[in-house]
Amino acid sequence: MNAPATFPDSRIPRPDGTLPQRLVVVGNGMAGCRAVEEILARDPARYAITIFGAEPRVNYNRIMLSPVLAGEKTFDEIVINDAAWYADNGITLLSGDAVVAIDRAAKTVIAASGRVEAYDLLLLATGSDPFIIPVPGKDLAGMVTFRDLDDVDKMVRAADSGGSAVVIGGGLLGLEAAHGLSLRGMKVTVIHLMPTLMERQLDEAAGWLLKAELEARGQSILTGADTAEIIGKDGHVSAVRLKDGRVIDADIVVMAVGIRPATALAKQAGLEVGRGILVDDHMVTSDPAVLAVGECVEHRGTCYGLVAPLWDMCRALADHATGAPTGYEGSVTATKLKVSGIEVFSAGDFSGGDGCEDIVMRDAARGLYKRVVVKGDRLIGAVLYGDTADGAWYFDLLRKSVDVSDIREALIFGQAFASGGGALLDPNSAVAALSDDAEICGCNGVSKGKVVSCIARGAHSIDAVRAGCKASASCGSCTGLVESLLAVTLGDQFAGERGARTVCKCTSFTHDDVRRLILEKHLKAIPAVMQALHWSTPDGCASCRPALNYYLVCAWPGEYDDDQQSRFVNERMHANIQKDGTYSVVPRMWGGLTNPRELRAIADVVEKYNAPMVKVTGGQRLDIFGIRKEDLPAVWADLNAAGMVSGHAYGKSLRTVKTCVGSEWCRFGTQDSTGLGVQIEHMTWGSWMPHKFKIAVSGCPRNCAEATIKDFGIICVDSGYELHVGGNGGIKVRVTDLLGKVATEAEAMALCAAFIQLYREQAWYLERTAPWIERVGLEHVKAGLFDDPGAIAALAARFAHSQSFMQDDPWAKRAAGADADLHQHLAEVRPLELAPMELVR
């Protein structure tokens, strides 16, 4: 620091001879200058104003740095106050000179240049500092943040030489940086820690749409990705390594993971600081002579990162500083993403929950997702993707807490519609309001007029309309519209209920529709299905999520990323939950066979983990009870060591293959039922199914393995193998149907695989083979297997393909440490009697 230099008092006396008070502003940014503008508007002569700015330039619109980076604007176009403004208002601007200390006793500030400036009133508007995650390599050349014009210059220069950019952080700033760099020709990868983009502003559905769009534009978006290290070469960044080992080349790395209020100066001056500089409703800090405003403050427990609240703060500040205090009460904020061609808006609270109603509208063809959350008579939150025209209107309703009960039903259709009718509107009247030539069914080009006349001619159900004019007969995504037309045209005559059972209350589609459309429309993720099929809830429910997850697992083997959060606890933990919250563990015993090594391993586990009970199950294997979730990985490691894998006693999957002793030992045995059972279990284990699936092989018609109450049962006879399907021993006992008879083990295995695949591809989730066959008929199953001579081979091949991805032991992965967080406690609290509560991690 240079030697302190004090400057002579240059204040111009007022007409009455008094000297104006000295206002010193630290921070020449958006809030600092706006506060000055507000004060000048109220009382231009009150203060002699000096502004210090660390940046070597005049005041500009920081939020427009994104369009500058994208090449859509120049710096000159985003200047808010040029040099003339400072001069005209008698403001001394000391730009490029940061304040480094405040002496509150002497009421002076000291700048880096050594300049000392006295104040009567001090205003801190220091904004925020970008947060840098403390990873190795963070200080290499080529690392930039995104906060001021210098950062933009660095990025533009890097982009001029092309190459790849990695942006760490998939929030608003990160995505705007990625967009700009990508427009400037760089190959961009965004690394985001959370599973969905902009998770603080968007829900899962909108975050997913955004990701899909950015990927379509050529950016690589890696979600759930944690940065381990920035790799350097000759002192310059060259790549980023993730914790999962992936390495991504980078000529420049932009760190945009968040901001921290810039409080260092205030803290050092002894002002009260929480997360930000603490201020009251008049933006006064713990020192009455010091005010603070903008991103650097914490007001009523909140720090803001958007400009709108700053404007409100500046008004209250100026009212106070000019002697007419009003007060600031906090702000509701809304977010918009400034990426050209992508419209995203969110505001308020959209977490949903009790007393809240979610109204969701999706239009897959136009890529729209709209969700408004209503609580009582008020709108409390909104998320819009694809069309944000109504964002401002929703935001207004929200901020002003307008009673929306009159327009509730029409709210989701937007302002024009909701305020158009005036009277009570509902979705049906929205459809009624459509013109006759409005297109209802895009696939078949059917207009509203055609559908209505089809209904008038006697088509009084969805199926009748489909048959009559083809509307909703293809992809089915207009089914809701057709239903509304039926309701509008027929009034009370229309029952409203569709014949077939829908997956759940989140959708009007049936299981069959969903399965078909997943394939037709190449839907490969749960949010993709929900969007394309107009789910009426933002993220589904405990019924549809597991169903969709299974349908996707079945449709896209090897491609689909299984969604663990959509699985019931047993499938997530790979063990059966018990009434006391512990788990039971059932290792596979192939065909019911075991050996001393396995039995010893089980005995050891029972003793080592104090399992209160071990039992022979009805499925010819052993069940170990009472294992705590923390101990599961260790138990599995021990069982794995003895060569045992998961028995999937918990899964909608292959359970057991029961066998009897067969020809090897039994005096009546006709074939090697034990050996065949073991082979079948090796072929089928690990596959996910609509429901659990049990197989048995009996060596003769005495049927000791109870094959005729299994999903697939084989009864060996002298001349070969009788194949039975659709048996069930559970709540409603059903004896199998005979599917046919084959001569060889190979044929029996092929038919077993083909039957399983047919069931996997066609049954509804949670439908066992017995109710499935009752519903579709044995003839349908036979037709699927036997009508086309190539069908069995094709189905069996699809099953084998799927199995090539399924047959890895989930226990082995957990034992090796995968998903450890599902098993470990987060922490443990041990309150001590006298000492404060202790936390053990």
Binding site: T196, S351, P546, Q565, R567, F568
Partner: protein
């Protein structure tokens, strides 16, 4: 204020749609949830029905479906939704600078929800 809040670590420890547990000696185990909407809630880890471990249920919206008999429990109030009646204590939680804090007094003696 900070003193009344127990810092239980960074938000990244719980992936969205998941919950993790925290046993309390002499008290009742706490389940901390992270919803798909990126919100956090803490409840006593025992279903009001028959004590099922709520942390192991499927989370949808701000609701968890109990893994034992599928009651739907509100993460916001701890109340059973729909036809079912019952309530589990909630623990006030706040997020600050990426870390999760639980109200100390409520962890030791969870307040009746309301």
């Amino acid at each position: 204020m900070i003193g009344d809040w127990l810092d239980i670590g960074p938000v990244s420890q719980i992936s969205p749609g998941n919950a993790r547990t925290m046993p309390v000696r002499g008290g009742r185990e706490v389940a901390i949830f992270h919803t798909l909407n990126n919100e956090f809630y803490a409840l006593v880890n025992a279903c009001p029905h028959k004590g099922g471990p709520l942390s192991q249920g499927i989370v949808h919206g701000t609701v968890v479906a109990c893994p034992l008999h599928n009651w739907n429990i509100s993460l916001k109030t701890g109340e059973a939704l729909g036809e079912d009646k019952g309530c589990v204590p909630t623990i006030p939680l706040r997020i600050d600078a990426g870390r999760i804090y639980l109200l100390r007094s409520a962890v030791i003696a969870p307040a009746p929800a309301g």
